[in-house]
Symmetry: C2
Subunit: 240 residues, 2 copies
Amino acid sequence: MASIDVCFSPELLHLYDLKGKAVVAVDILRATSTMVTAFAHGVANIFPVMDLEECRGYAAQGCLTAAERNGIKAEGFDLGNSPFGYMGGSVQGRDIAITTTNGTRAIRLSEAAEEIIVGAFLNLQAVADYLAALQLDVLVVCAGWKGQFNLEDTLFAGALVERLQGKFSTENDSTLAALYLYQTAKADLVAFLRQSSHVRRLEHLEIHKDIEFCLRHDAFNVLPVWRQDRLVDLALELES
Amino acid sequence: MASIDVCFSPELLHLYDLKGKAVVAVDILRATSTMVTAFAHGVANIFPVMDLEECRGYAAQGCLTAAERNGIKAEGFDLGNSPFGYMGGSVQGRDIAITTTNGTRAIRLSEAAEEIIVGAFLNLQAVADYLAALQLDVLVVCAGWKGQFNLEDTLFAGALVERLQGKFSTENDSTLAALYLYQTAKADLVAFLRQSSHVRRLEHLEIHKDIEFCLRHDAFNVLPVWRQDRLVDLALELES
């Protein structure tokens, strides 16, 4: 039976051998939630890049550019990191280059993996179904906050573990921890997270509406996967 | 109000500023549990060292030497890493040099802190009382297993947080996670940990008796603290 493991921070990624594994990259507040939302609203390709300058350069190729640093939209870019900025048809058919404090890093540092999937509560079941079909060993890579453990990414990992119980071995310590935390929190994720000083700092940036949205389960049948230099929505290919 | 935070691995320690903080170093299975037991049985000084050769060198100064690698006593040393090896009067009044896979590393990497305290379930209340009196910001440094998160060190952190609630701010994400995991597990810590493949690997080394012992709460009024190049039992000084 394949196993599922959880890496709580990109700073711990060097301890794992990614070869032959499926990585699920997660940054619930808000990079991966926003990417999933963008694909659900018709984005064609997403280029996750590490720094602001590289991101800006993609404009010359006709991309929309999106950048966030420390929770705030960076100046001179088309889009920020709120999922609501990607709704209403403005991104339909477009390519987007995006850089964020934590989330794009989790994706780019995982390139040695066999498969990289972008996960969020918003596409939880699509990710779970795909992993169950792949049957590769899974590593959930939590983006964390500036290298540190965070609750919201861990709770997503626990939700995914819960959906994969019985299909994957779930005996790693971090896997068990994520599962138990999710089971403690799931009756009211918003209230649970409001205890966190890290989440309360984000709320001061007036993203409370974003937080509630990013905790919705299974809103979109979207499956962003890494292909060479970009993310594409595999759900479109699987349907056709 | 001072705060309590939890670092889940020595690999994350570079993200924290230790200056002015009290570090609680913990390696429940078994380095810090064994150190606490050793002091409870009359050891005078403990020298935690990083490698086997340095440890061996302490024999010339009249120290007993103790070494463990990958859960097993290293060849040519007086003692291993089982707390039961330190009972029965054999270590009374002696100095010990010790090196272990994970635990000694957590201590030595924390030397920038204002105070380093060795914590275990066995001396939980002694540690909690001392921290409450100090009122420095606290960082619990979990030794983990070869850099990875482990449950038993996290559960100790949660137990300590529970005892310090109301006296310290406990809003960091890792602090909340440790607290909730401890509250889920505490009715039967042994059964909870037996789900862990990491703990089951240790049990194959026939240390089941050690594991049950290391999970006992408040067995000893012992307070190992770092002083220059060694650990001493501050509880003896506080009593006198």
